[in-house]
């Protein structure tokens, strides 16, 4: 019995010890990458940036040992860049600069330079799609040409790490519904789908209102100690802010243009992805009401038999009146219906704008082709080879059904006397 037990124990130990531990890595040995960016490098190569967190600098209170008395002086993230012919080659170049093994499982943002996108994303995305560490639900964004580095380096007091700041903005996207970010997996699916062109949001820098001369270059310095006149100085505001807006439109894997913010919402209406945002609706002469969008649904269908090919887009939405500059009595159902009709017309305008712009780029970002593929496969197979020429010529009928639900706490507008 004891011999058997000893033998089993030996077997177990030799099973675990020699075979175990091979991919073991302690948390503190990891360089946790939160964002990856692909930029154009020298000589037609790719330049890859990674944003690595410095956890020690993020931890509050308990680990105060390093900061000394002067508050936080370490920026909680660090950038590494390298160039290479391919993404992976550039990444491995990074290991010559980074002291820790880069860990991409927590990468949240892939930022791609506009110029790289215009040249085609197939080669760039292959690595991200193939890698076991990178997840498919992370966000893919396009940065205005030449701004990749700045977008990744602009700090903010609210979210210390730019990558998380971008993610935060994306999470709150339904407050405006004016940019259309895509997850890596969705983007790749759109890329491979028939009759659906990919799109994703654009990131750009906008100037902030800071006093000239006070803001440091990229805001990385914290204001240490006291100012000249004994007035405590706060960390200077950065000169620029990141703004996500619009949508980059692709034809195949090449970016061919962009939708502006209004057109982007038009796109989202057609896709039924408007889950919020505000909309100012003119009603009558110079009078506006502002509606908060609550939800929307959309349905695309090829037009019924008996006419030339075309599409019907049905959009249903609900909203609340948030602000009214008009003296209309919102207690009357007829008034509300009238306002809703105004809003429906306004939505139709946004959709038309998106359609017009997309048609000029010939990119079917709405997925009309995919709908046709599902509903009328024979027709689709006839048309699919020249779809990008065909679809801009087709008529699209937009039917909007808007409903206004609530009017807030005020039913009769303020009336000064």
């Amino acid at each position: 019995m004891w011999r058997r037990i000893a033998f089993t124990a030996l077997l177990l130990v030799s099973l675990t010890l020699p075979s175990g531990c091979w991919d073991q890595r302690e948390v503190e040995q990891l360089g946790i990458v939160l964002a990856t960016a692909v930029d154009k490098g020298r000589g037609g190569q790719l330049e890859v940036h990674v944003q690595v967190v410095i956890p020690r600098a993020l931890a509050g209170g308990g680990m105060g040992g390093m900061g000394g008395g002067g508050g936080m002086t370490i920026r909680p993230y660090r950038h590494y860049s390298a160039t290479g012919a391919t993404v992976f080659e550039a990444m491995r170049q990074l290991s010559m600069e980074a002291p820790r093994r880069l860990f991409f499982a927590h990468n949240q943002i892939i930022l791609i330079d506009e110029e790289v996108a215009r040249e085609g994303l197939r080669e760039v995305l292959d690595f991200f799609d193939r890698s076991t560490q990178i997840r498919r639900h992370i966000w893919l964004l396009i940065a205005k040409h030449g701004q990749v580095h700045e977008v990744l380096m602009t700090p903010s007091p609210l979210e210390l790490i730019p990558a998380q700041r971008l993610v935060g903005m994306i999470h709150e996207r339904s407050l405006s519904s004016r940019f259309a970010p895509q997850r890596l997996g969705d983007f790749v699916e759109m890329l491979e789908a028939e009759g659906q062109e990919p799109f994703t949001a654009l990131a750009a820098l906008v100037p902030t209102r800071v006093e000239k001369g006070k803001g440091p270059g990229d805001g990385q310095e914290a204001g240490g100690g006291e100012g000249d006149r004994g007035v405590p100085e706060f960390a200077a505001e950065p000169l620029v802010n990141i703004r996500l807006s619009g949508a980059a439109v692709f034809l195949g894997d090449r970016m061919v243009g962009a939708l502006d913010e209004k057109e982007t919402r038009g796109l989202l209406w057609v896709r039924g992805e408007v889950w919020g945002g505000s909309m100012t609706v003119p009603c009558g002469e110079g009078e506006n009401i502002t509606v908060e969008i609550l939800r929307s649904q959309a349905r695309i269908a090829p037009r019924e038999e008996g006419g030339p090919l075309g599409f019907v887009v049905q959009i249903r939405t609900e909203g609340n009146v948030m602000e009214s500059h008009s003296q209309k009595d919102l207690r009357q159902p007829e008034v509300m219906e009238e306002l809703a009709a105004c809003q429906a017309a306004e939505i139709a305008k946004e959709v038309e704008a998106a359609l017009t712009r997309a048609k000029t780029m010939r990119a079917d970002v709405f997925g009309f082709g995919a709908t046709l593929h599902r509903k009328k496969p024979e027709l689709w197979h006839q048309l699919k080879d020249r779809w990008s020429e065909v679809w801009p010529t087709l008529a699209v009928e937009v039917q909007v059904e808007a409903r206004l639900r609530r009017t807030g706490l005020v039913s009769i507008p303020l009336e000064p006397k």
Partner: protein, 539 residues
Amino acid sequence: MLMWHLLFRKVAKLLKRRGKVPLKHIARQEPYRDRELAAARLSRDLEENIRVLRAVLGGCHDFVTRSFRIGGSWPAAVVTIDGMVDKAFLNEVLLRNLIAEWPGSTLRPTLDALRDRLPAGKIGECHNLQDLVTGVLAGDAVLLVDGENRGLVVSAEGYASRAIGEPASEAVVRGPREGFTEHLRVNLSLLRRRIHSPNLIVEEIRLGRISHTPVAMVYLRGVASRELVGEVRRRLNRIDIDGVLESAYLEELIEDNPYSPFPQVLATERPDKVAAALLEGRVAVLTDGTPFALIAPTEFVVMLHAAEDYYQRYLLGSALRVMRYLAFAASLLLPSVYIAVTTFHQEMLPTRLLMSIAAAREGVPFPALVEALLMEISFEALREAGIRLPRPVGEAVSIVGALVIGQAAVTAGLVSPLMVIVVAITGIASFMAPIYDLAVTARLLRFPMMLLAGSLGLFGVMTGVLAILIHMAGLRSFGMPYLAPLTPVKPADWKDVVVRAPVWALRSRPAQLAPANRYRVARGLKPYPGRTGPGRGGG
């Protein structure tokens, strides 16, 4: 010389076979065997009896022989062990009656006549030395009368024993506060007081060649299955050991799987728990000298059931039970999962958590596995020290331990604060197991699990969990599958596993016990507001 010796041996053997060894051969210096004592009949000569007794018990200075004359004329003696008998009873009742108030002094009183007149509750008879000695050593007073070759064993137990107190290891908020004591008679009375039934059977045997510890097997006739009772009896009867000092001795001798880390017999100091087990058709084994009774058979899930589950409203009882299952899993797995996730599967953590773990571990010189082992071992050391040390000192130790380990180790950068939290939660979770034996099992298995996690990650943890599950599925408790009613699947018994159904819904006794009496609750007892119910005023 040798011949004489051989002859003597032969004669002694012959006589022994007939059950008649002359008492004079009993007096010697060697240890006495029960068989020899049993074979030695008492003599009619009081002097001879006392002389032999002195020889047998002569080394015992607490052995007392009180010689007197019944009614002032007939020689007799009472033999006792000092401290084992109730002195007041001995002096005031027994001796006073025998010496002073015995009237028939002209006629030698026969033992039967004495027995008829003696004011004692329980009187037995002994014919040989073994019965006499056993009685005396158990706290009885033995009355020997000249001219009688037997003695009267008068029950006069009066030794000090602990009062009934609250069970230390199984306290409840609502429920009886009585716990077993070290006194078998008291413990049996606690059971009798809960089940007033002639079918509550107490079978008593003495176990231990030297210790002769009284052990009682208790069951409910007509509820417990005959096979089960027979099996418990058979296993107890085959025990041949020098002494039984705690029920754990018996547990290790009657369990089904001696090498398993899991307890297969439930040890409890709560009489209500034993009574509940008896009512379910289980068998209890009570041992003199310990407050812990054994309940057999016991399935795994029963170990996670506290008595209070049944005393609180069933919703709360069920919720607490669910928590207890989770806590058992946590006390077994939490440190290993933490190790596995932080050293192998960082992608499974939420990003912000990963960053705070990384920040906390920054500067910790050990790998997570070593860190966890360090903390767990020091926690176990603290716990053990806290139990062993005298109470006032123990508290001081636990305070110092908490400060040193919890605070200073973190400040010194030896361990990360998160690890302290993990170890603390694990410790608390292990205290949630209602049965101490099971908590110990989880504590024990935690360490191999941690090693597996440290070398193979979650794969190792799952391997370990599977190994434990396979092992548990193979265990038996008195032939009953250990994991029942989960596997083998007995859905009818799931009312009382993870959740506890209301009492009116717990109609049948656990099926795997094959109780002789299937139902314990009458049909249709679910309360409802009837027309004559108290709520409606009765009309």
